[in-house]
């Protein structure tokens, strides 16, 4: 039994400041709409975290089944706020799974905000000094300022980096939750009443498919009680991203499929309309989340880790729409806004495996794993 006092301190530092208040009554596990009947969470996660059992928590799929509805925090008789603590544990686990580890640690500290912005700003300045693009005259056309090809190339590099780090994290996570340490969940009563170890892999694709369906529908999220707004806000942000993604694909088809020279589309263009819907969903959803967090501590007070991610999304949405508005207004400020937007988009994508964005990956995998081992929520 290796207890890790530093791990306890880290979880407390990352927002689990109420962690030590837990006295293991299991009210949280009882009220949790997401928890399965066997080996329910978050009670056991609370004591693992209290004892600093890092290894167990890294290899625990259950923390990712939690949507931070905060029903547990609402009913906790000790004010231990398991919902918040699990959020902090997830942050800590993202840090532990990320490669390189130290970089994640830097980014998670409030002081790391310097690095957070310094990297894209320096890269942008470097690009500006090397390619020295000129602010074009006349009609505002972004492509005339920085060629689409450059953006695409940069996108491939940054995206590729993010995917690589994510793949490392995914591998570590997947092997973790299927390892000996987490086998406590993996037993299922066999036909002859013998315990058999249920491995996740045989039905991976099937489970992944249904997990994605669940995620698209937010069906699990819909079970949440106390922090119900989260379901709506997250739904909007999530679908905002997807619609924006579709619009981007539309852009690419325009550029390379239909041979459209320039993407300064009019507001009536279907792709533009789609993009604007996505942007509005993104902005509205993140704004709702921000306002709700300010308004009601009961449903979660948020941590630096949360705020950074949420703020970045909101800023990306805002600057994106800003560029469009300035473009229609014919202001050259649109080009400067574009630079800011690029910096923000970089932080969103490049830091995804280190930020709260990583939950997309781990939660999807955890869903898949949970389905494969039969960890369905209790009815």
């Amino acid at each position: 039994m290796e207890v890790d006092t530093q791990f306890v301190k880290d979880v407390v530092g990352l927002g689990g400041k109420t962690l030590k208040k837990c006295y293991q009554c299991a009210t949280c596990s009882v009220v949790c709409p997401q928890s399965p009947k066997e080996e329910p969470f978050p009670r056991k996660e609370m004591i693992w975290a209290q004892w600093g059992l890092k290894d167990k928590l890294i290899k625990d799929g259950d923390i990712w089944l939690c949507h931070q509805c905060n029903d547990c925090s609402e009913y906790c008789p000790r004010g231990a706020k398991p919902g918040e603590v699990l959020g902090a544990i997830r942050a800590k686990v993202i840090q532990e799974l990320a490669f390189p580890n130290f970089f994640a640690k830097i980014l998670m500290k409030p002081a790391g905000i310097v690095v957070y912005f310094a990297i894209p700003i320096i890269l942008t300045l470097l690009y500006l000094s090397i390619a020295s693009p000129k602010i074009p005259e006349g009609e505002i056309v972004i492509g005339n300022f920085i060629p689409h090809l450059h953006i695409e190339l940069a996108g491939f590099i940054v995206g590729g980096w993010a995917l690589l780090v994510a793949a490392i994290g995914a591998y570590r996570f997947w092997s973790g939750i299927n390892s000996e340490v987490s086998k406590v969940y993996e037993y299922r009563l066999g036909e002859n009443a013998e315990l058999e170890v249920v491995r996740a892999s045989p039905r991976f694709i099937e489970c992944l498919f249904w997990s994605v369906i669940d995620i698209l529908k937010h069906s699990r999220f819909a079970e949440c009680g106390t922090a119900r707004y989260r379901y709506f806000a997250h739904f909007m942000i999530f679908w905002g991203f997807i619609i924006l993604g579709i619009a981007t694909i539309g852009d690419i088809i325009y550029l390379y499929g239909l041979g459209v020279e320039e993407l300064a589309l009019p507001p009536t263009d279907p792709v533009k309309i789609l993009g604007n819907i996505g942007a509005i969903l993104l902005i509205a959803g993140s704004l709702w989340a921000i306002v709700a967090r300010f308004g009601n501590e009961r449903v979660g007070y948020g941590t630096y880790f949360d705020w950074l991610f949420l703020g970045t999304i909101f800023a990306v949405g805002l600057t994106g729409v800003g560029i469009e508005a300035l473009r229609y207004a014919g202001s050259v400020a649109a080009y400067y806004m574009y630079l800011v937007h690029l910096v923000l988009v970089f932080t969103l994508i490049a830091y995804a495996p280190y930020s709260k964005f990583a939950h997309l990956l781990y939660r999807t995998l955890a869903y898949t794993w949970a389905k494969s081992v039969g960890r369905e929520p209790q009815q």
Binding site: M1, V3, T5, K44, I47, Q50, W51
Partner: protein
């Protein structure tokens, strides 16, 4: 008493009865002209009673229950008898001929009792109001100080050379003040200074009690201080002898005695006091310390009870680990028990990052390469865990210092039978010699009481008291137990306890100075008188007195100590010769009251065969309030029943029952308190004794050729008002099925 006044109140629905007929009972049967008043409890009514009382010896007030308006209907030293017409008749019965006859009988009983009562004289002696405090720990020190502050002299006796008890050996202590979340500097040394500086406290250290004889107000105490005799007289006693740790050598399964690095919480405390938390085996600093809770407690093989402080102590000591070595403290508990406000202490200690808590059972403690490994099962972590420990601390529990001592004879019976059911633990001792051996084991008070030298204890060796209602009471009047001797507790509770017991002791010496008794008949001056010429030395009274009030001479003749007496009347209920009586509660009085009930004679009275008569002797502490509450809640019971309150079921002499049956009463029900392990009897064993005496009653019934069902004892508790009427009615129906008592009309 000669001059008896009778007052009938007609308020609160009593006027539904035929008041004229009631008046006639007083007038024609007793020759007393009663007064009728619409509201006796009104200012005008009380004024009238007061004026009349000056001319009277006794007043019979036929109105409400004796349990209400008691202060209002008290007139200096006049005897007052209450006929319960309100709760007992009009509120609990349909008003008909039966109810009318019931009311008339109640009036007869009350007037008879008043006429038969005599004027009591208090037993007043020259008494000492000084108080002896036994034990110089936190409890004893606080008690002595409180007594002195209240203006009384305290004698503080401590067997060790230094004051302070266990607490003086502690490094730091649990808080004694709100908010009960901080560990504090040891408060005992300041307390010792205060006690030493107080002129009203006489301290005897290195002293033991050789003997205490006499009675409250007049305890003659003989001390042995370093071989020298010291004698003084004290009025009351506070026993604060505290606790002893459970013997850890019995905990070999937890590695004590086997591994050097398994220590008790006291040994750990000593280490901290000496400034170092180290491994005993090699003297190195102990970084990882495992605390094992319930080391022996809540275990049938060791201490079956929870000591209630060990969880707190381990939380405190876990903090020592953090303070001394910045290490890790693991607390393995059965249940974290931090009662009351101590929950806040638990919450506070829990906040420390280096304190790890889990529920769990110890599977094994083993040593590998000089290091201990504690294997814990049934944990909250979902699996068995193995903790490598530098030091294992066993949280052992508290045992009363009275445990294992020779306390009273009944706890050490000569045969393998339990004499009284509230003592569950058996000490099968066969001979007087064995008792002598146990007596050698040591003593604390060494009371020169016929029944035994120490406070009687309950099954775990804690002195007998009702821990919720009367925590400091013992079964010896004027002697109060406080602190860990009477229940395991921490310092703050000991301090509170000491104050409570000190006040009780002061109250006792003040009361006995006026010849009054204490709880539960506080203020009663009447005491039992013995007509010893007719005593047959059967020793029933000296053995059965729950309070050890009666000593005896060599022949077995009782030697009463009236100031030790709580006036329950158990001796008077026990005496087969009926030579024990109070002035206001006598055999003659009660027997006459029973006989005053009018039993319809089938030869003369119309409808007599329908008019069964029953007597319920109801304990005034529990059964009577339950009946009053039943009446208040609109419950009804058979009007054939006459309820006669008694001080305790133990005070029901079998002669009352014999008289009742030979007069034609169809059945007698004794309603008393619960007895057994969790007894509720205010006089400890009254209802239990009543039950045992039923054997004798059975003989009487046999002699009279009557069915044994006609006399029954039933236990009720004070809150069973909803059941008590059912009990009565069932009894009535059962006897009515058997048929009428054939002795009617004789």
């Amino acid at each position: 008493m000669e001059k008896v006044g009778v007052y009938i109140c007609t308020g609160c629905d009593i006027d539904k009865l035929d008041i004229e007929r009631l008046k006639n009972v007083a007038k024609e049967e007793f020759g007393i002209e009663p007064k009728v008043h619409p509201h006796l409890c009104s200012q005008e009514g009380v004024e009238m009673l007061k004026n009349d009382a000056a001319e009277l010896d006794a007043l019979v007030i036929a109105a409400c229950s004796p349990r209400v308006k008691t202060a209002l209907f008290t007139f200096d030293d006049k005897y007052v008898e209450r006929a319960n017409l309100r709760e007992g008749v009009v509120w609990s019965h349909d008003i008909d001929e039966h109810a009318q006859e019931l009311a008339e009988d109640y009036l007869r009983i009350a007037i008879t009792k008043a006429q038969k009562a005599e004027k009591p004289e208090p037993y007043i002696e020259e008494v000492s109001k000084d108080i002896l405090v036994v034990g110089g720990g936190v409890t004893g020190l606080t008690a002595a100080l409180e007594i002195a502050k209240a203006g009384y002299k305290a004698y503080l006796v401590e067997k060790e050379p230094e004051l302070g008890g266990w607490v003086a050996k502690y490094y730091k202590t649990l808080p004694i003040e709100p908010p009960y979340t901080r560990i504090e500097e040891n408060p005992v040394f300041k307390l010792i200074e205060e006690v030493k500086a107080n002129e009203n406290i006489e301290i005897y250290t290195s002293a033991q009690i050789d003997s205490i004889s006499g009675q409250p107000g007049m305890f003659d105490v003989v001390l042995n201080q370093n071989g020298e005799k010291v004698q003084f007289r004290a009025g009351g006693i506070v026993v604060a002898t505290g606790w002893k740790p459970y013997d850890a050598t019995a905990l070999e399964e937890l590695g004590y005695g086997k591994f050097a690095d398994v220590v008790t919480n006291l040994e750990f405390e000593e280490m901290a006091k000496n400034g170092k938390i180290i491994r005993k085996s090699d003297g190195s600093e102990a970084k990882n310390v495992v605390f094992i809770q319930c080391a022996g407690q809540r275990d049938e093989n060791h201490l079956p009870y929870c000591s209630s402080v060990c969880c707190l102590v381990s939380l405190k000591q876990a903090k020592y680990v953090r303070e001394f070595t910045n290490g890790n403290a693991f607390i393995i508990y059965k249940d974290m028990r931090t009662p009351g406000l101590w929950e806040d202490f638990y919450k506070e200690m829990q906040q420390d990052d280096g304190i790890y808590l889990t529920k769990g059972d110890i599977k094994e403690i083993k040593e590998e390469g000089g290091k201990l490994t504690v294997i814990v099962t049934n944990t909250l972590l979902g699996e068995d865990i193995a903790i490598k420990a530098d030091l294992v601390v066993l949280a052992t529990g508290m045992v009363s210092t009275l445990k294992g001592l020779y306390t009273v004879k009944e706890e050490f019976p000569d045969e393998k039978t339990v004499p009284y059911k509230h003592i569950a633990e058996l000490h099968p001792i066969k001979s007087e010699e064995d008792i002598e051996i146990i007596k050698q084991a040591g003593h604390i008070l060494n009371l020169q009481y016929r029944q035994g030298p120490e406070l009687p204890t309950l099954k775990y060796g804690f002195p007998d008291s009702n821990y919720i209602c009367f925590p400091y009471e013992s079964r010896r009047l004027g002697i109060y137990a406080a602190g860990a001797v009477r229940a395991p507790m921490e310092i703050a509770s000991c301090i509170e306890d000491a104050k409570g017991a000190a006040l009780k002791a002061i109250q006792a010496v003040e009361l006995v100075a006026e010849g009054k008794t204490t709880f539960p008949r506080t203020g009663d001056i009447d005491f039992p008188n013995f007509f010893l010429q007719r005593c047959t030395q059967c020793k029933r009274c000296t053995e059965e007195c729950p309070f050890g009030a009666l000593d005896e001479d060599e022949k077995g003749t009782p030697m009463p100590n009236p100031l030790r007496c709580r006036r329950c009347g158990i001796c008077f209920g026990a005496c087969p010769e009926r030579i024990i009586s109070f002035k206001t509660y006598s055999i003659d009085q009660m027997a006459s009251a029973v006989k005053s009930i009018y039993v319809p004679d089938p030869n003369w009275d119309e409808g007599a065969e329908e008019k069964f008569r029953f007597i319920v002797f109801a304990c005034e502490n529990d059964a009577l309030p339950a009946l009053d509450m039943a009446a208040l809640n609109g419950k009804k019971w058979s009007p054939l029943v006459r309820i006669i309150p008694v001080r305790c079921l133990g005070s029901v002499n079998t002669v009352f029952i014999a008289d009742a049956l030979s007069k034609g009463i169809d059945g007698v029900l004794l309603l008393g308190c619960k007895y057994g392990e969790d007894y509720q009897c205010h006089f400890i064993r009254g209802s239990e004794l009543a039950n045992r005496r039923m054997e004798n009653v059975a003989e009487t019934l046999e002699r009279l050729m009557l069915e044994k069902e006609r006399v029954q004892v039933v236990e009720v508790s004070i809150n069973e008002w909803d059941k008590v009427t059912e009990i009565i009615d069932n009894f009535v129906n059962q006897i009515m099925e058997i048929g009428a008592n054939p002795y009617k009309g004789f």
